[in-house]
């Protein structure tokens, strides 16, 4: 069992009538990349702000490296945050922004040490030589990297990132995702990232914590969440799925790419648990795969994703075609319907 760097014990936060975070028990392990994933307003930012010390829990305790920090203000907590809009100090140069945390220490490091650390930090985010510039001379992506350097130079116990990529365009976001992941591996600092973008959470993190209306629903590796979601909410939020109603408030969840499709029943592979006949309602060509919307008399509508690679066996289908579809028993999951 790895060491826990930051931990919530039954943490709740209310703003007047609004319960922003309810009974949260979250433990972040040393060196991991953990994402908090959830829709808007589910309490992600509030959780992060309680770790940083900007908000104090209404009830429950926060621990950092085993020490209780509930009530301790932000400036005495060994964690750092990357803000969504970077929050770079506009009146300071890039170098002064990056060295800000070091300059608050007492005893204060020497000027030489500070310069050296700043150069290292800027090199780390590939901004070597930018120290003398002003913040407004940099692009969004560059400002983002300055914010990272400014936080990482302090070697915090945990780096908190609140939707750090939301303000970037798609292409840059993809680049920064890779860069963040590499950075985290090189520096070995624990990253805690908040996002409502499931793709971002799944692609970058060692573990993902899915939240809903202030509560943690499930925490696990991206693969665990995808393969063994504990309820319909997680299955829906992490990847796509088909849901077929089952007995007593449950649903059967089947991932679209795990459904086989063929022109006739006898063309379907062996060992399928469910077989059904239906009609193609819609077809979306996505390059490496094709997405079919199927209407079946017994099961209603569902979606099938057929990989390009399997087309030489299954063939391709047009809208209106009659088809057969089915899946293996282990690919269907019976889940509570929320």
């Amino acid at each position: 069992m790895k060491q826990v760097v930051i931990e919530f014990r039954k943490v709740s936060k209310r703003f007047g009538d609004i319960a922003a975070v309810i009974d949260n028990n979250l433990a972040v392990e040393q060196g991991e990349f953990l994402s908090i994933l959830g829709p808007s307003g589910c309490g992600k930012t509030t959780s992060l702000r309680m770790m940083a010390g900007f908000e104090q829990p209404t009830s429950g305790e926060v621990f950092i490296r085993g020490e209780k920090v509930t009530g301790v203000p932000a400036y005495r907590r060994p964690v750092n945050m990357v803000f969504q809009h970077y929050a770079l100090f506009p009146h300071l140069s890039i170098a002064d922004n990056v060295s800000y945390g070091l300059r608050q220490r007492s005893p204060r490091p020497s000027a030489g040490e500070i310069t050296k650390s700043v150069d290292e930090a800027l090199d780390m985010v590939r901004l070597g030589g930018f120290g003398k510039r002003r913040t407004y001379e940099l692009s969004g992506g560059q400002q983002q990297r300055v914010a990272l350097a400014r936080a990482l130079i302090n070697r915090p116990a945990v780096l908190l990132l609140d939707e750090p990529l939301a303000a970037l365009d798609r292409k840059l976001r993809r680049e920064m995702q890779v860069e963040l992941q590499n950075l985290q591996r090189t520096v070995g600092i624990t990253f805690l990232l908040v996002t409502h973008d499931q793709e971002e959470a799944l692609s970058m993190s060692d573990r993902v914590c899915v939240m809903r209306e202030g509560r943690v629903v499930q925490t696990g590796s991206p693969r665990d969440l995808y393969d063994t979601p504990i309820n319909r909410y997680v299955a829906e939020f992490v990847g796509k799925s088909n849901f077929f109603s089952a007995a007593s408030g449950n649903v059967t969840s089947v991932r679209p790419e795990l459904i086989d499709i063929a022109a006739r029943r006898k063309d379907l592979p062996q060992g399928l648990a469910i077989r059904t006949d239906g009609r193609v309602l819609n077809r979306i060509f996505l390059g490496e795969q094709t997405e079919y919307r199927i209407a079946s008399d017994e099961l209603g509508e569902f979606t099938v994703v057929a990989p390009r690679k399997a087309e030489h066996l299954s063939g391709t289908f047009n809208i209106g075609d009659s088809i057969s579809a089915g899946w293996r028993p282990e690919h269907a999951r019976l889940l509570p319907d929320n």
């Binding site: 940083a52 010390g53 900007f54 203000p73 932000a74 400036y75 005495r76 964690v79 750092n80 945050m81 803000f83 809009h85 929050a87 770079l88 100090f89 506009p90 009146h91 800000y100 945390g101 608050q104 220490r105 913040t135 407004y136 400014r150 936080a151 302090n154």
Partner: protein, 271 residues
């Protein structure tokens, strides 16, 4: 339309032009141009009455600007934390302080001070043998009264445009609340405070009405000008008037530039 517009401007600026022109006139007659000269400036600044009045005015204006800047900044920062109807109430007070005519401030300060003096002076005279009376300090007090509001308004505007997360970022980077104030809040508010300082200086320096009521035996430059033109307008007075005019205009322009630059830097930082 054009003609009217020209007439309006002539009406507005002709007196000022006459004063400025007259101050450079070599002759003594205001209406007859006898060639360019700086003679009257020399005369004015070697007149001990004028230099003393100028000194008093500068002292009052500087003190007013300094005190108003500090108190105005504190008022604006304090108001940040006030919410609800109390906030509305204080906001209203600030606007009222700015809009009240000078003559009302003058009279009411006078009455207030006089009644306080009547109350405390007997006791003070009996115990310490001193008597409070009107003077420069009373002018400063009255000027500070509405210049606090001017500074507070400017600082408030800038505070509202300031990104709250900058303060949090500073705290997150281990700066104590005072450290954050010194390193982040104050530098970001500095342009507004400086502009407020200059405006307060200008308003105080050129004020006649309030000073006239509460200056007591002290003579400020505007009071000196007023009392001497009863004996007729001399080119010397024109020179003094021109100096006051140019100083005020210059300071107003500088204040405006500072505010604009501050805003531009902010826009660039946001974008």
């Amino acid at each position: 339309m054009r003609v009217y517009l020209v007439l309006v401007y002539v009406f507005l600026y002709a007196p000022i032009a006459l004063i400025v022109g007259g101050s450079f006139n070599a002759g003594k007659q205001a209406m007859i141009w006898q060639g360019f000269s700086l003679e009257w400036y020399g005369k004015a600044f070697s007149n001990p009455l004028i230099t003393e009045a100028l000194g008093t005015s500068l002292y009052i204006a500087l003190a007013t600007a300094a005190i108003s800047s500090v108190l105005g900044l504190m008022a604006a920062l304090g108001l940040e934390r006030v919410k609800g109807w109390l906030r509305t109430f204080f906001d209203a007070l600030i606007y009222i302080a700015i809009m009240v005519p000078g003559i009302v401030i003058g009279i009411s300060t006078l009455i207030a001070f006089v009644s306080i003096f009547e109350l405390v002076n007997p006791a003070l005279t009996a115990t310490f043998n001193i008597r409070l009376q009107m003077g420069s300090w009373a002018v400063i007090a009255a000027h500070v009264l509405f210049n606090i509001a001017v500074v507070a308004l400017l600082v408030r505007a800038r505070l509202q445009g300031m990104d709250r997360s900058l303060v949090e970022a500073s705290e997150d980077l281990y700066a104590t609340p005072f450290g954050t104030f010194r390193q982040i809040v104050l530098p970001l508010l500095a342009p507004a405070v400086l502009a407020g300082f200059l405006l307060a200086f200008t308003f105080s320096f050129e004020d006649f009405i309030i000073a006239y009521f509460v200056a007591g035996p002290d003579v400020t430059l505007p009071i000196y000008v007023f009392s001497s033109i009863r004996r007729g307008v001399t080119p010397e007075i024109n020179a003094v008037g021109t100096v006051v005019l140019v100083t005020s205009l210059l300071l107003l322009v500088i204040a405006q530039l500072i505010l604009q630059r501050g805003n531009q830097a902010r826009v660039r930082a946001d974008g």
